[in-house]
Assembly symmetry: C2
Homo-oligomer: 355 residues x 2
């Protein structure tokens, strides 16, 4: 069963796990970039009255998280998959966003580039603030400001450090709106916390990842944590070709709950709002035969009984989301190995989707 694992270590074919472990460096680098460009970003966002995030796949999920966070700063924001913007533009709200925020690891995704061109044409006054890992990309020439996560560049197809470092950038935008120049103080210590999380939960992630008796994974979150749930779903699916689903917290009861059985793990991203709604859900999943894995701040999960539990370091609001995804990336990796799959080369996929 662990043949692949041994083989990977011996042969050094561990691109994905190496990249997962490089998250602290990627975070450090992107925070430097954000400090450098804080003034540009701040002035671009300060005059905005509406904001549109777009991207594909993991980058769209980052956009969803961004829209939820930005709404909390009282700037009305939306996220739309870039593909929908080019195939069915008339079915989307006819908003004229002041700021368009495309997200693309490669900066080369055809749909995202087309969506930005289309949006610029429709709203000539709008400004473009892009987030990418690729300094010299086609997205650059469409952007007023380009935020680059230089150490987020990956060989792996599945997004790991690219996701968490671009996520920190997305969080930074909201903190800039709330704190101005003081934003950077709130991110102090994030790379160290990332290292702590990677070390602290590797054993747990490996334990769950190796449980090949588990057949179904469900990820639940509310608000910005729903975007995290989607990324967790996709990460586990791509790496280990596993049945995985994601829903907004309470939507789970309206049908999807039917799949819960003894081979099901329901992962709940705990967040402050929601209170007993989280606890009730966890109890219910256990009562119908599923297992539960909760992630959140210790203070929010007091007295809660679950099968697995990961306590995320306490940090200022909107600066800790990137810490939630690393244990799931590790879990997906070890599950792939346990199932005899190569996490470096997920089936059917390419790194960049060009049409």
């Amino acid at each position: 069963m662990y043949f692949f694992e041994v083989a990977y270590w011996v042969m050094g074919m561990t691109v994905t796990i190496e990249e997962i472990k490089e998250q602290p460096m990627a975070l450090e680098a992107v925070l430097e970039e954000l400090e450098d460009k804080a003034n540009q970003i701040g002035s671009l966002l300060s005059g905005a009255s509406s904001c549109l995030f777009t991207g594909c796949g993991s980058s769209y999920y980052l956009g969803l998280i961004g829209a939820h966070l930005t709404n909390r700063t009282k700037l009305p924001s939306y996220a739309v998959p870039a593909g929908e913007m080019i195939v069915s533009p008339d079915s989307l709200p006819a908003v004229s966003p002041d700021v368009v925020i495309p997200i693309s690891r490669s900066g080369e995704s055809t749909e995202t580039l087309s969506a930005v061109r289309e949006l610029k044409e429709r709203n000539p006054g709008s400004q473009v603030l892009s987030v990418t890992c690729n300094e010299d990309c086609s997205l650059r020439e469409l952007s007023d400001v380009l935020v680059v996560s230089r150490e987020g560049v990956e060989e792996s197809t599945v997004a790991t450090k690219s996701f968490s470092s671009m996520l920190a950038a997305i969080e930074y935008l909201s903190r800039l709106r709330l704190d101005g120049e003081a934003a950077r103080d709130n991110f102090r210590g994030l790379p160290e916390d990332s290292r702590k999380v990677l070390d602290r939960f590797e054993k747990l992630s490996k334990e769950i990842g190796r449980r090949t008796d588990l057949e179904k994974f469900v990820f639940l979150g509310t608000g910005e944590h729903y975007g995290l749930a989607l990324e967790a779903m996709l990460c586990v699916k791509e790496m280990s070709l596993t049945w995985s689903e994601a829903y907004p917290l309470l939507e789970f009861r309206h049908g999807p709950k039917s799949i819960v059985g003894e081979n099901t793990l329901v992962v709940v991203f705990y967040s402050r709002p929601g209170g007993e709604k989280f606890d009730d859900l966890v109890k219910e999943v256990n009562s119908i035969g599923g297992e539960t894995f909760v992630m959140g701040r210790e203070e929010n999960m007091e007295g809660l009984e679950s099968n697995y539990r990961a306590e995320i370091p306490v940090r200022p609001e909107y600066t800790d989301l990137s810490l939630y995804i690393a244990p799931i990336q590790q879990l997906g990796y070890y599950r792939a190995i346990g199932l005899g799959l190569d996490p470096d080369e997920p089936r059917n996929l390419e790194q960049v989707v060009k049409l």
Copy 2:
């Protein structure tokens, strides 16, 4: 293998399949209701400048479809799960909708009722146009206009005729904005078309439903067809406890595609926009070993090669969506029977979710 099927017929325990077959009657009844209330609805919508749909599960998916259609009539619209509105309200766009459109089969879902109360409090000027199957429900007293699909009432937990009849009501709202009183002419013949679809595709749905070698179902659509894809995903999941997923058309390539193998059926809801993007996707799924099932108008699918195909009767725009879901409901039903499950009693679920 067909023991359950025989048993159900002999014992008359066929609530779900009976209700699937009652769709033409449910459509006829809801169209009468809509004609009766057309003036009220029309005047409520005519002055609106923004519109918010909400609901849970299948009703939220109806809201998503409604938002896409209403956007096409140039009225900016959004859909939000009712649960998110009560757990994470601050992470949602701070819009002040003139019209709130809650959808609830029972008119009693706790989250939907709470969301409507909350929205009315925040926007005292807004009006509430509700869609339900239950005449005497708690939603009534919160509504300015209540559209009731009287024949949509179901014994079954899985939504079938309730979904398609409330969907026709949602489509009617958009046609009213486009055509005024002439809207009803565009819906002429819909019950007959529904009967045709049920008869024409029962054999095909049974054939696919009985293919228990298929392990994964993926449903894809763009714009308003994405909401249909979500409902198809949920319907098959609830009835047959099957691995089923749904994505906006082009999002599928950005990761989820990895699950496609020889036991995978990808169902594509074809719609006019998109053109060759649909064809390319269908070809790609077949080339990586999956099977394909396309549904749409004959004229849109000319020359396309797929494993299965259902040609939906040609009708005026925004009056044919309810025809797409019936073959999937039949498929889910026959798959449940084939797997030895009772489609009338999906695991873990209740008809109405009250918190």
